[in-house]
């Protein structure tokens, strides 16, 4: 099984093969003497050349992060078996960018109207959650093509609120 894993900017090619002795693993072609066990779901103990790593899978909302020791890495795995992840990776490239709710909450203010021009980083929508008001900013300079919520509306994490082109 081969996986394409993106950590930060870098892309790694990870080949995994299960053998009786345990996992056979190649990282970008390099043989890795991997010893992995999992005592709890989402938690790994990895031994690699004597070094011991405790690894946790964070999986908050849409994002997947892997915590190694006490360092957090955002990792996206392109798995031949999973189409979603591939298409998700694709989405980022298009001309239209979506403003999504990073957390569930309530829309308290719309700061831009459909058709109005916005700068990258300009606040477009204010969401309140956990007694805090959070400004959602435009991911790019462009024009607001769509706003799919109204003030006062309750929104879920990951819900698309507006589109900028």
């Amino acid at each position: 099984m081969t996986y394409e894993v993106t950590v930060g900017e870098k892309v790694y090619r990870v080949e995994l093969q299960r053998s009786d002795a345990g996992w056979k693993c190649r990282l970008d072609g390099r043989e890795m003497p991997l010893d992995a066990v999992s005592g709890q779901d989402g938690v790994l103990s990895l031994l690699l050349g004597g070094k011991s790593y405790e690894i946790k899978l964070e999986n908050a909302g849409a994002e997947s992060s892997v915590v190694v020791g006490n360092q957090r890495f955002n990792a996206s795995v392109r798995d031949p078996r999973s189409f979603r992840s591939r298409s998700r990776t694709g989405a980022a490239e298009q001309g239209i960018k979506k403003i999504k709710a990073p957390m569930p909450g309530k829309v308290v203010r719309l700061l831009a109207a459909i058709g109005s021009a916005v700068e990258e980083g300009q606040s477009v929508i204010v969401i309140e959650a956990m007694k805090m008001q959070n400004e959602l900013k435009s991911p790019k300079s462009g024009v607001i093509r769509k706003i799919s919520v109204q003030e006062g509306a309750a929104v879920d994490a990951g819900q698309t609120l507006a589109e900028v082109e």
């Binding site: 989402g42 999986n59 957390m103």
Partner: protein, 506 residues
């Protein structure tokens, strides 16, 4: 001694008070809103009653409802915790009228300290050092006249304010008007009280506060200071005791002032006098918090006292069991406030289900938590999950211990601000105790130290991500760790994965 106490709060502080009740043989009564039925404080209490919908105004701030529950349950006292009704004098009076002991100061002291302007006047009269400013509320016009006299920069503050709400910094006369208006409307919204006053801005001050404790027989002591300069949006993030800049003499002087302030206000039970400290180590009265502080544990660890136990004993009429000279500080304590928010993404809050919770323990580690693995953190209340507190022989040892504990701490399913603390604790200025209320903003505005690509951890992360995927049950396209419970957890999850994969290849 009290026999049954209702805790008019939720989260970690409710659990902390319930624990104290259990240790003292006092029955505990929890109250909960509709979204808190499965909250930790409900299952830990001896009794628990619903008090309404999620919105705090209709539940945790609902005085009538809470008193009704207290009467029905036969509680003889109410502990308000912090936040919610804890500094609400009306509530304290309502308790008194209902014949229920409010565990805190007299309503009169709460009212005095609740109004920053009245407090200023009273404290000035009591000879407490003050930041130059207006002793009373001002109109916008008055403010525009007074500000230049005091000299810019100035702070505009809501008399009823707290937690940074209704507070604005103004550097030039031009900014004053608009800032005054926004502060005033914010104050109206937050406290339903638009009174605004002016204060000279102390540049890069430290925030140092003194814990005081008074019984109902006229005895008041101070329990040393807490250093709370590491703040974000005027919210404390890390607190410690003692403060690196406070020596024995300064502690004695600040303590004397704090005790004087408390006595002049007729204060009883636990309270905190907050000071701003300037570069020359002059200290100025900021405000008095008429309740138990979030950060009280650092004081408990260095003094060896239990403030909540003492609150109960004081409320039941006991005299303070010790004198000022008996109070001794040992070692150094640090507290980190663990929030459900993402420091890597504008500190957006992150409510949701905690799918995995790994909590630190061992020597010198204390955790006051309000959550558990499997609990869904609601989006209706503030994002504090837990407080992690460490105690060690000195400040460097305490920092190292906190770093060790943070390394053991993991919250899965939602984002937490754990990475923020790692960054702060590694910062050389923090290590050298070169901190003031601007420290954290400066740190955050600086670019985060890039992870050393050569330490190989990124490679480990890549391999791990692949392993998690290989052993995952795919849920809506995103890989999560196997939900299959495995007979022998240590290995078989992997064996299974191997097999299913094998078939996949045929």
């Amino acid at each position: 001694m009290l026999s049954k106490v209702l805790i008019a709060n939720r989260g970690e502080i409710a659990v902390r008070v319930i624990r104290a009740c259990r240790e003292m043989g006092i029955q505990s009564v929890a109250v909960f809103s509709e979204v808190d039925r499965a909250a930790l404080h409900v299952s830990k209490a001896d009794e628990a009653y619903p008090i309404g919908p999620a919105a705090a105004r209709e539940s945790y701030l609902n005085i009538a409802r809470i008193l009704e529950v207290a009467r029905r349950a036969g509680a003889d006292a109410i502990h308000p915790g912090y936040g919610f009704l804890s500094e609400n004098a009306k509530f304290a009076r309502a308790c008194a009228e209902a014949g229920i002991k409010f565990i805190g100061p007299p309503a009169s002291a709460m009212e005095l300290m609740g109004s920053k302007t009245r407090a200023r006047t009273a404290m000035q009269a009591a000879g407490v050092p003050m930041v130059p400013g207006s002793a009373r509320g001002l109109t916008r016009a008055e403010a525009e006249i007074m500000a230049p006299k005091i000299g810019f920069p100035v702070m505009i503050k809501a008399a009823a304010g707290g937690g940074g709400k209704g507070m604005r910094m103004v550097r030039t006369a031009g900014e004053l008007g608009p800032a005054f208006d926004t502060a005033q409307s914010e104050a109206m919204r937050s406290f339903n009280d638009g009174e605004i006053y002016l204060e000279k801005l102390i540049e890069n001050p430290r925030h140092v506060e003194i814990q005081v404790l008074g019984d109902e027989h006229g005895n008041v002591v101070y329990l040393g200071e807490r250093e709370c300069s590491v703040q974000r949006r005027h919210q404390k993030v890390i607190e410690e005791a003692p403060s690196a800049i406070v020596d024995e003499d300064m502690r004695r002087r600040m303590g004397a002032v704090a005790v004087q302030a408390a006595k002049s206000a007729g204060y009883t039970n636990a309270g905190t006098v907050e000071f701003l400290v300037d570069a020359a180590r002059n200290f100025y009265f900021l405000e008095m918090n008429t309740r138990l502080q979030v950060e009280h544990p650092v004081t408990e660890l260095v003094t060896g006292l239990d403030l909540v136990h003492l609150q109960m004993r004081i409320a039941s009429g006991e005299k303070l069991p010790f004198k000022q000279e008996d109070v001794r500080l040992r070692g150094h304590a640090i507290e980190c406030r663990i929030y459900a928010e993402d420091p890597e993404n504008n500190f957006f809050p992150s409510p949701g289900k905690i799918t995995r919770l790994m909590q630190p323990s061992g020597p010198g580690v204390r955790e006051d938590s309000g959550v558990y693995e499997g609990w869904t953190v609601p989006l209706d209340y503030d994002p504090m999950l837990s407080k992690l507190i460490v105690h060690a022989a000195d400040r460097p040892a305490a920092i190292a211990r906190m770093q060790r504990a943070l390394g053991e701490y993991f919250v899965g399913g939602i984002k937490s601000n754990l990475p923020l603390f790692r960054r702060i604790l590694e910062d050389p200025d923090f290590a050298a105790a070169r901190i003031d209320t601007g420290f954290l903003d400066r740190l955050l505005s600086a670019k985060a130290p890039a992870v050393d690509a050569n330490n190989g951890l990124a490679e480990i992360a890549a391999i791990s991500a692949a392993l998690f995927t290989a052993t995952a049950t795919t849920k809506n396209g995103q890989s999560t760790a196997s939900a299959r419970p495995s007979p022998d957890a240590a290995v078989s999850a992997w064996k299974n994965a191997g097999r299913s994969e094998g078939t996949g290849n045929q």
